[in-house]
Symmetry: C2
Subunit: 230 residues, 2 copies
DNA sequence: CCTAATTAATTGTCAGACAATCTTATATTA
DNA sequence: TAATATAAGATTGTCTGACAATTAATTAGG
């Protein structure tokens, strides 16, 4: 009988302390990576076996994910990975356009605090590195880091958390759409404009550039065939 | 004296079918009304007794509220009603300014769909009614309905949910600040401008007016003494 | 092949248990 | 007395097992 109650605590790492947190982390990762597909049912019995936990913490973790908008809980019908209709994608995109725009503005305003300019330069260089240019996975990662760095530099913590929430359900679309050469080129133009504006401390330009970028990305996602949506 | 809970019932609110939902509802109301004060610890044993439920569903409900940002869960230290620092209030206000502005824009764009113009007129009249003008509680209710109506008319469901989340932790400030005559007058000016722009279908003006209103409200909240914050 | 009855799977909740951790009260020491 | 260590109590985190209610799957009957 595998009664693995306590996880060996890896010292020094910002790792989940609690079983609930560990489960939530695991599921979050699984959903983001696509291992749990949108619409898929998450059955308690399966997951308790898979993760070696009891139903209590598992259900708590599910409740947290539901609060984050990653899964849907329907009474007596259980939990499913959240799906998005075209309309919902559009709605979320409109929200993101406003908020990522705000984040870019804040980043431009605060670029000269602490070591933020250096931090931003690093993220920006990662985007243009050879690795990111050749490997799609690396590119997606660098792209995500670019955006999260901008928000972090802005220094609005609630905004950081909120954008994380809004991006996650859209994440899977990136793997399908982004990788034609013209798309990459366009994305690069957008990113350049954003980076330039932020480094120049031009808040208006940064916001404008970011919003334009978001609109372009959205157009790309919306051009996907119906099968990509719920 | 019975505590006055000024939490308006949403129109077609679906009744909680599940114990977890009932608990979450109850606690949400309690937090919004101030019966559970910011910073207050929510102890499982007390609440299971108070609500006649077992720990499982209670903890699930807590997890959902945590996802909504209403409470904080700290490992091994339990659940507390979320508190806000001045800085956090400012951060949330910046987000709200963008999103309520978007909502106003969308409302103006969609004011002539279905019966939305009539619906909006009703909410706007409630604001200026005698009842709202005399009783602070009624005014706060009408004010909340005014804002939620605008978002609903805009037709962006995720935005509706998000703004609900962002408003709730700020709700308690309304009871302390809003009620000097000059404040009411200023608020009325703002609201008039918003209503006029929306009814005229002028999206730009609606967004501008709403953002101005939000900035004014924020200034009011920020002018509160330190005791009002965490 | 479609509909209804039966069975299986799954969820929602409860109760009790116990170790780990945090908090408070008490005793000890500088 | 103040600071600190220690013990006692309170609270959380998790597990197990149970059972009714509901939903999904299967089989039987028309």
């Amino acid at each position: 009988m595998p009664t693995r109650t306590a996880v060996p605590k890896a010292a020094g790492e910002p790792k989940p302390v609690t079983t609930v947190e560990r489960i939530a982390d695991e599921l979050r990762r699984g959903i983001k990576s696509g291992r749990f597909a949108p619409g898929q049912r998450l059955i308690e019995a399966d997951l308790t076996r898979l993760l070696n936990v009891s139903r209590g913490p598992l259900r708590e973790a599910m409740a947290r994910l539901a609060g984050d908008g990653l899964v849907r809980i329907e009474p007596n019908r259980g939990v499913t990975v959240r799906t998005l209709t075209r309309e919902e994608v559009q709605s979320i995109a409109a929200i993101r356009e406003m908020l990522e725009g705000l984040a870019a503005r804040l980043a431009a305003e605060n670029i000269d605090r602490d070591g933020r300019r250096a931090e931003f330069r690093r993220a920006w260089q990662d985007m243009t590195s050879e690795r990111a240019r050749s490997d799609p996975g690396d590119y997606v990662d660098a792209n995500e880091r670019f955006h999260t760095t901008i928000v972090r530099i802005g220094g609005n913590a609630p905004l950081e958390q909120l954008l994380e929430q809004l991006r996650t359900p859209l994440f899977r679309f990136q793997f399908r759409s982004r990788f034609t050469m013209t798309n990459l080129a366009r994305g690069h133009q957008d990113h350049s404009a954003i980076a330039k504006a932020i480094l120049a401390g031009d808040a208006d330009a940064a916001e404008r550039a970011m919003r334009r970028h978001l609109r372009n990305s959205t157009k790309l996602i919306q051009s996907l065939p119906d099968e990509a949506f719920a």
